[in-house]
Symmetry: C2
């Protein structure tokens, strides 16, 4: 019952604000985030009146629902694309992903090194800020493109591919960060090799099954003439892919995306495919994903605004410019127009939930409480990074919309 | 990730077994329950290999997902019916509900009084067995009728109405049981009056809003021309109804059902209604409800079969005959045919999840550990009641199918 109360309020606020944004010609994601921010401010102001809402960050059941939201969002993004879209756009996307990670990582590391006081944990803290900057949230990028109806445009395909590559590379950064936090040293070459080996195995399994097992099972399912069965089995396949991904050290979102990618019209039939996609779209965009985005908005903690305004400004500027130039310049030199390159650069900006996960790992490891006594810059670095995640996630769709809208190649 | 692993396995097993049952001409619910029983036996045999699966009864997140399953199932059942269906069938349904509760309650109470040793808790134990017998699970009855495509038949409408009345009356029984367990005495007349007052307020609010607010909001929503928005707002309305129900002392399933009942074609438009219902149906029948039914099957504990076979047989026979005659005879005297009356009687048999909730309350209160030393009949009463819940839930659809199949009035 507590769960239904929380879900009802978040869903209502998020969808209402989302529809208002749509009516104003903006992506609904912006409204969903703003609704979450509004709810977060209200519950922080009156914690006793809204005790259930103010405790959702510790509510495991609610957390499970938001994970399902991310899962379905990635499955839906996969359904909208074909494997060939990813392959075709890989030439540009790899460069975009690489530049879009290296420049922000360097900026984040540099800022931390310059602004944070020297201590035995400064290297770990700098590595954390670099990693937080280098991240692109695939689910956010996918949702923005869905909102704008541009997922299958040239920029859309390249952006999603680059975001997926970014996500895979982030894992390596995260492994490094975790090792440094835990053991105080960089992981050895064997650990790297092992990690890359596991990632390769993941793609061999998922691509292999996707190419050969999916059409075989799809043919059998088509014969049962039971539409709900195909829907169920697609969810089972995507969940299995997600679990394989997690077991092999990847985040589950990559698995859900890969399963969606290999489920095609030809796998079943045009009619069953459309029907299945419509149901996935309903439960995702109409139920789980607004709740997920509102929950991101609710996690906003504004203390950095008043406590470390200067550092916050530098971090925000670096977060935006790092991705815009880091991803945009390789795109431009791969033959994209200036406008397309700017769209790609700003599209890679959104950090969303993935960064919040990384920030949470650092928080639990006590990275913002060292050295003792802890200087203000470090105490409020967590708040600054959360603000960066949410601000970049709101700015990205607002920037992307005019850039994609009149794109003649879109 | 743990959650995705659990959901993937349960969904796969439940849907596969459900489709096989459908192919054998039986309702898919039977397969979903059997899949759960199978998984329960396997995980009990190899608890270390399937540690995650064997711990789901203590997994709050998984429990939240099954609650969502019940919620959507009741919402879908409401969508399939019109308020007038309930009103029209009330004359017969009230008698069916009353008889279908009183006889099983009397049998359960009597069996406990005769077979359990005298002690200061025998009254509470007898009250518990009576309550457990008197229950009918609305979600199960609704799912069986959906599986058979008979929800809108005369028997179907009457059965769901009677099950809803039974559910409301069960609340009063549950309040009595809770008071006896907690204070050792029957609740006073004021508590009863208060309970009935709250139930009346619930229906005044939900019927009032359903009749006047739903069409008004629906008209506004129709203008937005956003299908996903109607879907979201229906979920929000149903969740709000469910929360109102819980606040006023009713189980949330009644709220979800009422919200579905008042969302009609005329509330929005034929096209939007069909589209919305299809999405609710997809997420319910293709995703959440199979997981819920498999989880019921997994809770099966067979120890009573070997420990107290005699008492178990008496309980099972009373559970079936009590509902068959208690609900069937009033139906027959209200002018239904013998076959329709038998269908109604066996349809009211399914205890499903609601009984498991009641058994759990009694378990937590320590009712199966008193008096000290505890006789076998009491120790294994919990297992017997769980077996009764699952066996009646499996028998009901198997019995109902031939009875409804060639019904000329169906």
């Amino acid at each position: 019952m507590e769960l239904l109360y929380i879900l009802a309020i978040l869903l209502f606020a998020a969808r209402l604000a989302g529809e208002i944004m749509k009516w104003l010609g903006q992506p609904s994601l912006v409204g969903e985030l703003l609704a979450g921010i509004f709810l977060g401010i209200v519950t922080a102001r009156f914690p006793d009146t809204f005790s259930l809402l103010s405790s959702i960050s510790h509510n495991d059941v609610f957390h499970g629902i938001t994970e399902l939201g991310i899962f379905f969002l990635m499955l839906l993004a996969g359904l909208e694309l074909r494997p060939s879209d990813i392959v075709e756009s890989s030439r540009v996307a790899l460069g975009v992903a690489l530049g879009g990670m290296l420049l922000p990582f360097g900026l984040g590391f540099g800022i931390a090194w310059v602004f944070l006081p020297a201590s035995e944990v400064r290297f770990a803290q700098a590595l954390f800020l670099g990693t937080a900057m280098a991240i692109t949230a695939v689910p956010v990028a996918a949702k923005i493109l869905l909102d704008l109806g541009k997922l299958t445009s040239r920029v859309g395909k390249t952006l999603v591919s680059a975001a997926v590559y970014d996500d895979i590379a982030s894992l390596i950064l995260l492994a490094v960060l975790t090792a440094v936090i835990r053991y105080g040293a960089l992981p050895d070459i064997q650990t790297f090799g092992f990690l890359i080996g596991k990632v390769s195995i993941f793609f061999i399994i998922t691509i292999g099954l996707g190419k050969y097992a999916f059409p075989w099972v799809g043919k059998k399912l088509r014969k049962t003439e039971s539409e709900e069965f195909v829907f169920s089995m697609l969810i089972v396949a995507a969940m299995s892919y997600a679990v394989i991904g997690e077991v092999l050290g990847l985040h589950f979102i990559v698995g859900a995306f890969m399963a969606g990618l290999f489920f095609r019209r030809q796998t079943v039939s045009g009619e069953i495919f459309d029907d299945t996609k419509m149901k996935i779209s309903g439960v995702t965009l109409g139920f789980l994903s607004p709740i997920f985005f509102a929950s991101i908005g609710m996690s906003l903690d504004l203390s950095a605004v008043t406590q470390i305004p200067g550092l916050l400004f530098v971090i925000l500027a670096a977060a935006f410019m790092g991705k815009l130039l880091g991803a945009g310049i390789p795109a431009y030199f791969s033959g994209m127009s200036l406008r397309e390159s700017a769209a790609l650069g700003s599209g890679m900006c959104a950090r969303g939930a993935v960064e919040l996960i990384v920030a949470d790992i650092a928080l639990r490891a006590g990275l913002f409480e060292m050295p003792d006594p802890t200087p203000q810059e470090i105490t409020f670095l967590f708040s600054a990074v959360v603000i960066m995640a949410i601000v970049t996630t709101i700015i990205t769709p607002l920037a992307l919309k005019p850039l994609l809208e009149d794109d003649p190649k879109g």
